[in-house]
């Protein structure tokens, strides 16, 4: 694909595409300033000593050499540590913001596989190597991998997160400007790793709604999941009026779930996913471990609508 039409990368060309990106660039400035200061001092001293104290310059004053060194050692150790601590706190604080997904964020599902990015919207719209999002909204990407580890990277937004098979990963952002940005795979994933690229298209909300309507969909994501729910036989146990006693899924999402080992977990995306793939790992308290594993019987693409359907059942009992 051609990158020529895309906006240039990097802090030199496009600054502050998101609030987070602006903060990261500021942090970069701070790191560069500290480093430049240290390097300037070091190079000055190396140069000065090299010239002044060269063996050929017998005239240089070499009396009164510093004998007691520990004052100096303590001084520069303390100074270094203080600067390092400040940089640590600065970087850590921004990092924690990145971990804190806003509650109202719009979920969009991303499935990575060798060597493409597949995206599924709640309305059932699907795209490959493209991610359309509305301007100004918080976007929560819920990501999983069909095969090896990939890494979802939007350089202009200064964000990146690995997509590890067997896990559900989260990444969020809120864009400040409409435009087209790079989508890259940053974790080496085999032959065509360098071709696992695409575009992130940030659109005005109205244009985005229009775009959503123009896509061919076969039902919403939850609707597709409901069909799968019957097709895979889930409803036989979890459906209304089932003969086998299995945990009810209505209102499950976002609620605490007591487990048979006495612990309590929260039914989030990762829990629902794990419960389908590895039901014996976390057994809901008071139920027999009867459910078969769906590992290998269901792809990541089927899991996405299935989880979306189970999440949609929370609606009646109040979403989190």
């Amino acid at each position: 694909m051609s990158f020529g039409s895309l906006r240039h990368f990097g802090p030199f060309r496009s600054l502050g595409e998101t609030a987070h990106a602006g903060s990261v660039d500021l942090l970069f400035g701070g790191l560069v300033a500290c480093s430049a200061l240290v390097l300037a001092l070091l190079f000055f001293l190396l140069l000065r000593f090299s010239i002044h104290y060269r063996a050929g310059n017998a005239a240089a004053d070499r009396d009164h050499r510093i004998k007691k060194s520990w004052h100096w050692e303590v001084a520069w150790t303390a100074a270094t540590l203080a600067v390092f601590l400040a940089l640590f706190v600065w970087g850590a604080q921004l990092y924690l913001e990145l971990q804190n997904t806003p509650k109202d964020a719009l979920p969009i599902y991303v499935v990575a596989q060798q060597w493409m990015w597949k995206v599924e919207h709640l309305g059932g719209q699907r795209e490959i190597n493209e991610l359309h999002v509305p301007l100004g909204a918080s976007i929560r990407l819920i990501m999983s991998s069909q095969d090896v580890i990939h890494s979802f990277f939007i350089p202009e937004f200064r964000i990146k997160h690995d997509v590890v098979p067997g896990a559900t990963e989260n990444l969020w952002f809120r864009s400040r400007r409409a435009g087209v940005f790079h989508l890259l795979c940053a974790e080496y994933c085999g032959t065509d790793h360098s071709r696992m690229t695409g575009r992130v298209v940030v659109m005005e909300p109205a244009a985005f709604e229009q775009w959503l309507k123009q896509q061919d969909v076969s039902g919403t994501l939850a609707g597709q999941g409901e069909a799968l729910f019957r097709q895979l036989g889930c409803s036989g146990c979890h459906g209304a009026g089932a003969s086998i006693r299995a945990p009810a899924l209505d209102g499950l999402y976002g609620k605490p779930v007591p487990l048979s080992d006495g612990s309590i977990t929260v039914a989030d995306d990762a829990y629902i996913r794990d419960a389908i793939l590895r039901p014996r790992a976390q057994i809901a308290a008071g139920y027999e471990p009867l459910m078969p594993s769906y590992e290998g019987k269901i792809s990541e693409y089927e899991l996405v609508p299935l989880v979306a359907y189970i999440k949609s059942l929370a609606g009646s009992a109040g979403a989190p």
Partner: protein
Amino acid sequence: MTERNYLTVDNTLRSWFFTTDHKRVAVLYFAGITLFFFIGGAAATVIRLELIEPQGHLVTSDVYNRLFTIHGVVMVWFFLIPSIPNTLGNFIVPLMIGARDLAFPRLNIASWYVFMLGGAVTLYAVFMGGIDTGWTFYTPFSTMYSNSYVVLAVAGVFIAGFSSILTGLNFIVTIHTLRAPGLYWYRLPLFLWSLYATSAILVLATPVLAMTLLLMTLDRVGGLGIFDPARGGDPLLFQHLFWFYSHPAVYIMILPGMGVVSELVAAFSRKAVFGYKFVAWASLAIAAVGFFVWGHHMFVSGQSPFAGLVFSFMSFVVAVPSAIKVFNWTATMHKGWIRFDAPMLYALAFIGLFTIGGLTGLFLACLAYDVYVTDTYFVVAHFHYIMVGGMVTAYFGGLHYWWPKITGRMYPEYWARAAAILIFFGFNMTFFPQFILGVLGMPRRYHVYPPEFQVWHVMSSAGASILAVAYLLPLFYLGWSLFFGARAAANPWGATGLEWQTPSPPPPENFALTPEIRRNPYQYTHDGEAVPQNA
């Protein structure tokens, strides 16, 4: 050559291949790692040629992936890790402590055979068709998806690991038990402190690598499932285990270089190292704290944010002792009698390049910035500043410094200075543009890349061609000096260590009489006259 020394004492092939003399083992290691250095370098050359052009027409993606993998595997395990310890260390450690040999001479030659066997197995994997996992062997790519000779290549690394352990063990026991009378711990030259710290990591971390690679192999061959989520395994577990070895391994690669630079700065400034005890303990602090920073390779992997905070903090902490060393080397030059022979040029280059590598390490330790630049060329540039700008530069510095001792010949000084300066400029021209690529967002391990990046890649490749010539130069003038170089005196640099108190090259038994140590290392008079440790 008529005088009796370790080179002339016996000249049959058998006497070389069955030698137990640490000096001859060092020469064997030198031959081995030089071979691997040029194999790894050849792969790098093709990589740089390929990247001149964004569409990647020179080789296919599969070949490109094999090239960077073999470059990493060969350079890390078959050049950098053994470089200073097994060549310069092997030669110098017994001489520096006034001993006749290492504590376990037969283990020493055995370690060379183990090392060469490991290298041969890995090279065999390359000739069979190579390996495309990257030197990090991340699962599940390496266990389930890679269609290359993973097991064979990994077997070579596994085998070579045992030579690391044997060498580390040998150095630890030697430094503990074979010091000459009067050579107390605080009288040890700093090269020995750094090798002692290195050896501790070699012995403690390498077994973890062996276990990790074994588990990975069982996963791939036997479907064990340790790292396979479908069987309840965890791909991230592999990363934890791998970096638990491989981050300390970074210190295996840089600590010996720091040790060499401490020797060089003192010898060519004619002054005791400033803050000797701080520099000595900084080596041990790096070795110890270095075991608790591995998670900084995994800030975006999905490990918990809390782990991210801890590992970020520890990574800043581990940079402090390195900073202490840099300050102390600089202070050592203050009011010295500084000479600029080639080894000192390398030492100065090391201080500058290592500091740039270290400072950019802080960018990567800094959580939010790492999220952006991890897995980009920023990381590639950073670790090449440490590994090549730091370790390889120190290795060349040490090689030139001890060359007269090892061969009994002086190298041609002007050629050597020219090469040192050429390496410095070639290196910066190759790797500084890669920092810019990283800051612009260019991911690493990309065969094809967006054309916006081309100008920086072309600059980097141009620098690499200078660097390649500069690295080839020593091969010629050092080779020339073996036959035509001026005869070296016992102590051509006016240094204070015990290794300079015996002829160049040393006799097989190193010292006619075990020297007695009467003073601290690096004692110079006010006018810069060396006072040997046994004077």
